[in-house]
């Protein structure tokens, strides 16, 4: 056949295919007009066409490599089984008959054309790791060659790669630090010998069964001093530069990604990426393709660990961030520096403990309350020790019904140990048995306290003292004194208080009322019991803020609070209650005063998560979003599952214009657990912001507090008359809602969208005076864009910025006096 003939064939073939199958034969016969060989050719091709379905459609694929059979000998070694395959060759489990030990053998073949440099690279690997002798680097025993196939014999490891481990999820932060420390230690030894790994990644890190970590595959390692020489030979013909092509996308440093030479600090970048992945459970740099991942390495900072793992200590976040600096000069200078940063993190890590609700032995009609109450008291006592991280009572409530296995609970709560106690109560005696169980199931301490029912305080004292001793917690030189419940408190009063607390921890209206009743009883039993007064203040404040804004709760709360602080001016619970009262419509939204009180409260009681939470809330209301996020992170450190803290973190992120679907999700979670109007309102607000206007209206239904949402929806739909109706209703119902400033802000947005600039600014001003001077949001909210350029708006923004700086300065000062570790009372 010649090309011309082929053209004819193809024309008839294609024309036939364009016809219906039953017509084709006749068509071909006619088109070939008697040329039988032409007709046979076309018919044959048509028939092949039908049979060729799928032929050549799939690109060629191939088995990769060929394994050595078991029993094959390589030098003195005997192959046992294939253990894995990597980029440079295959790894076998083998036996060394001379020493009777099992070894691992990595084989590279010279069969077929070996890429230039591959052999050399292989030998370099062997030489490089052979020169190292470090517990965190895979040991090399031998290098050999068998029929042109070079191989390396190394120690045989049992365990799994970090990659395999990561498939099961992220690694607890103290464990991740321990592993990172081992990596840094191994790298440090290699770097000191002038060897850079260049391809550190989870696949190259091996976790042995005994808990140590080994760095594998110094296949890409080069003696630093020889890098220049190697450039030319390695890939041959000077076509390309090795720095660019070696390393793994997602872990390789920006300088490697750009083809510049890798140095020791490139390994530190990879270490940062690995540590990030251990903590976050996701890669630091990802993309749909290598090119996108590469771009991410060059351009993006990964999401802050704090946004993924709120329990990661900020200092650890900082270590990771420093490793991941794009500019190698900004990273740690040496692996040793990373190691010492990690080491100090580890030693400064506070021991953590959780107290499970105490079990009742025998009949106890009050079992539900008393078990939690004893735990709560013990928690309060333990929390006085700053070097001990104690999970707040809210985190252990879930264990009040069901008895967990202590070590499992320790792991679930992310603590080093749990206090697992039981008690037996008779008419007048109380016997408490306590053991301290580590997360590994080891009993660290066990003891028993016998006392009179009246003397619960002694129980918690003794238990707390024994536990802190068992955990080797450094005692403060000046242990904070008992807050509120001085030794003189009558046992009954304290018991009433504990009952009140157990209700107050559940956040419903009924429980709030019941709590107030018990606090009242405690106060009646012992009028000098400051904590009872503070409890009352808190309960009344909650009644006013969350449940009945119309009631006269604030005045009563204020009286209670004053009394509590008169009795004990340092009472953290008293400061907390006062902050609540200050940061309220009745308190005139005294942001500064409330912050000051809250910081006083957390300075003397770092475990007071409510105070951290409230401080975080106020901080973002005044526009200090980053500070708020850090503060809320403290709450999540104390209670990783704290739903409200997660809710506020999401709301903070909303203020920054971040993705708000998470906010909507958390709101819906909270709404499900504790239905409340404000949370419904919030969910609707997110829906509006996501453009899901109909859903938002459905969410708020006929809720009277949601006229502002409806106004905003109407404005967004361009329905000015309806928007104005709803704005009027918002103004009329203003008393119906504790956090009215959010309504005011939504109205301002609605008016802005309707183009009514001046009224919009009026409402914005009202919102900012009503507790929401959040200029950080105002500056960037696109809903307010129609206001920008208006002189009055610009002036407002400028004023609020000044105000925000004022708060920033105030807060920085308060933080200093909060201190970090040493007990500080009455600082500057």
């Amino acid at each position: 056949m010649d090309p011309d003939r082929f053209k004819v064939v193809s024309r008839i073939f294609e024309a036939a295919l364009a016809r219906r199958p039953e017509e084709r034969s006749a068509f071909v016969a006619e088109a070939c007009s008697g040329d039988l060989s032409l007709r046979a050719e076309v018919e044959g091709l048509l028939s092949s066409h039908h049979k060729a379905d799928g032929f050549l459609e799939e690109p060629p694929t191939a088995p990769v490599g060929m394994a050595l059979a078991a029993g094959t000998r390589l030098g003195p070694y005997e192959i046992v089984a294939l253990a894995g395959a990597g980029g440079m060759g295959e790894v076998y489990r083998a036996r060394d008959p001379r020493l009777g030990r099992e070894v691992a053998i990595k084989v590279l073949s010279s069969a077929g054309p070996t890429p230039p440099g591959a052999l050399e690279r292989f030998r370099a690997e062997a030489r490089a790791i052979g020169a190292l002798n470090h517990p965190n680097i895979l040991a090399v025993y031998d290098v050999g060659e068998e029929q042109g196939a070079p191989y390396v014999v190394t120690e045989l490891l049992e365990g799994e790669t970090l990659r395999q481990r990561l498939r099961r999820g992220p690694i607890p932060s103290h464990e991740a630090v321990r592993q990172a420390l081992q990596i840094a230690s191994g790298l440090s030894a290699a770097h000191e010998k002038g060897i850079v790994h260049r391809d550190l990644k989870p696949e190259n890190l091996f976790l042995t069964r005994d808990g140590s970590l080994k760095i594998l595959d110094f296949g890409l390692a080069k003696r630093l001093s020889h890098v220049q020489e190697d450039l030319g030979q390695e890939v041959g013909a000077g076509l390309t530069r090795p720095g660019l092509l070696l390393g793994t996308v997602g872990y390789m440093s920006p300088e490697q990604a750009q083809g510049r030479a890798a140095d020791a600090r490139s390994d530190l970048f990879a270490l940062g990426a690995v540590l990030y992945e251990m903590l976050a459970g996701r890669r630091a740099f990802t993309g749909g393709s290598d090119a996108e991942s590469l771009a991410a390495v060059l351009r993006d900072d990964p999401p802050a660990l704090s946004s993924l793992r709120p329990d990661v200590p900020p200092a650890l976040d900082d270590v990771v961030a420093r490793c991941l600096c794009k500019d190698s000069a900004s990273r740690f200078a040496t692996a040793r520096e990373v190691a010492s940063a990690l080491e100090s993190l580890r030693s400064s890590r506070r021991r953590s403990v959780a107290v499970l609700p105490f079990r009742a032995l025998g009949e106890d009609p009050d079992a539900g309350f008393f078990g939690v109450a004893l735990a709560d008291a013990t928690i309060t006592e333990l929390a006085r020790h700053r070097t001990l991280l104690v999970r707040p009572t809210s985190t252990i409530l879930r264990y009040s019904a069901e008895r967990p296995d202590p070590s499992e609970a320790a792991r679930a709560l992310g603590v080093d140990a749990v206090v697992d106690g039981s008690y037996q109560r008779t008419e007048s005696r109380l016997r408490v048995t306590v053991q301290l169980v580590s997360s590994e199931g080891e009993a660290l301490w066990a003891g028993r306290v016998d006392t009179s029912v009246e003397d619960i305080l002694r129980v918690q004292d003794e238990v707390a003292r024994a536990i802190t001793a068992a955990l080797e917690v450094e005692m403060s030189a000046d242990p904070a004194r008992h807050s509120g419940h001085a030794e003189l408190v009558a046992g009954r009063a304290y018991e009433h208080y504990l009952r009140g607390r157990s209700h107050f921890l559940r956040e419903t209206l009924d429980d709030c009322i019941a709590a107030a009743d018990w606090f009242e009883k405690a106060r009646e039993t012992d009028p000098g019991f400051a904590l009872a007064w503070a409890g009352l203040a808190d309960a009344y404040a909650r009644m006013g803020f969350d449940f009945q804004p119309e009631g006269n709760w604030y005045a009563r709360a204020r009286a209670m609070c004053d009394r509590a602080l008169t009795l004990d001016p340092d009472l953290p619970e008293g400061h907390y209650a006062r902050a609540r009262l200050r940061w309220s419509p009745q308190g005139g939204w005294d942001n500064a005063g409330a912050l000051r009180d809250l910081m006083l409260a957390v300075a003397s009681r770092p475990s007071l998560d409510d105070a951290h939470l409230r401080a975080g809330v106020i901080l973002y209301h005044v526009g200090l979003i980053d500070e708020a996020l850090l503060r809320l992170r403290r709450v999540l450190m104390l209670s990783p599952d704290h739903l409200l803290a997660r809710y506020h973190v999401a709301f903070c992120r909303y203020h920054l214009g971040a993705d708000i679907t998470e906010g909507l999700r958390v709101s819906q979670d909270v709404a499900q657990r504790a239905p409340a109007r404000w949370i419904t309102y919030q969910a609707a607000l997110y829906q509006v912001r996501l453009g899901r206007l109909d859903e938002a209206e459905e969410t708020v239904g006929r809720m009277r507090e949601a006229h502002a949402i409806r106004a905003l929806v109407a404005a967004l739909q361009g329905d000015a008359p309806r928007a104005h109706d709803e704005i009027r209703l918002t103004a009329e119902r203003r008393k119906a809602f504790g956090n009215y400033h959010h309504n005011q802000y939504e109205v301002a947005c609605a008016l802005a969208r309707l183009g009514e600039v001046e009224p919009a600014i009026d409402w914005l001003l009202a919102a900012s005076r009503g507790g929401y001077p959040c200029v950080t949001l105002f500056e960037r909210d696109p809903y307010l864009d129609p206001l920008r350029g208006s002189a009055r708006f610009d002036r407002l923004i400028a004023d609020l910025r000044l105000e925000r700086e004022g708060y920033r300065g105030l807060y920085a000062g308060l933080m200093e006096s909060e201190g970090d570790g040493a007990p500080t009372r009455g600082g500057p």
């Binding site: 090309p3 082929f6 053209k7 193809s10 073939f13 294609e14 295919l17 044959g44 091709l45 048509l46 092949s48 066409h49 049979k51 060729a52 032929f55 050549l56 690109p59 060629p60 694929t61 191939a62 088995p63 990769v64 490599g65 060929m66 050595l68 094959t72 894995g84 395959a85 990597g86 980029g87 440079m88 060759g89 295959e90 590279l108 073949s109 010279s110 069969a111 077929g112 070996t114 890429p115 591959a118 029929q147 196939a149 696949e203 890939v235 041959g236 013909a237 000077g238 076509l239 390309t240 530069r241 660019l244 092509l245 793994t248 996308v249 083809g259 393709s289 290598d290 090119a291 590469l294």
Partner: protein
Amino acid sequence: MPGLSSEGLTGLLRAWSEGNAEAAERLLPLVYGELRRQAARYLRREPNARTLQPTALVHEAYIRLANQDRARWKDRHHFFAIAAQVMRRALVDHARRRHAARRGGSRPRVTLAEADAVAAPRDVDLLDLDQALGELARLDPRRAAMVELRYFGGLSIEETARTLGVSPRTVLREWKLARAWLHRRLS
């Protein structure tokens, strides 16, 4: 920047598209090395993978070389054409070695994963295909190129069309005869 070669990838591609045969000769080893490295990279990423497909290799190899040279995307079709050729050569060479090995000695073979990464197909005899494709190229160079791009280069219909400077419909139409013809030759 140093690296590549004095002309860089872009220069070579352009020279080659302008008919400079020497440029192709210089491009081939460059592309070959890169594809092989991509294969190795892929295997490191997926250590348990036993097979490999060219599509990802070709694209990633281009991205890497192009990034290195700041080449523009519009040049990529020339690159694809080269990469497909390289892939074909590599696969066929490998098949040839396998044939030889099957006839040859009993020594346990240890193969180099990097070289094997670009390797043999499942149910197509690559040596026969290569030969048939050679004949097809004599009869109809465009159809042969199409097969090379689509099968060996792993390119989509659109990419094949753009590389050849024809419409996707033309590729779809002409592909049918090319495939039927090769199928007939190989069965």
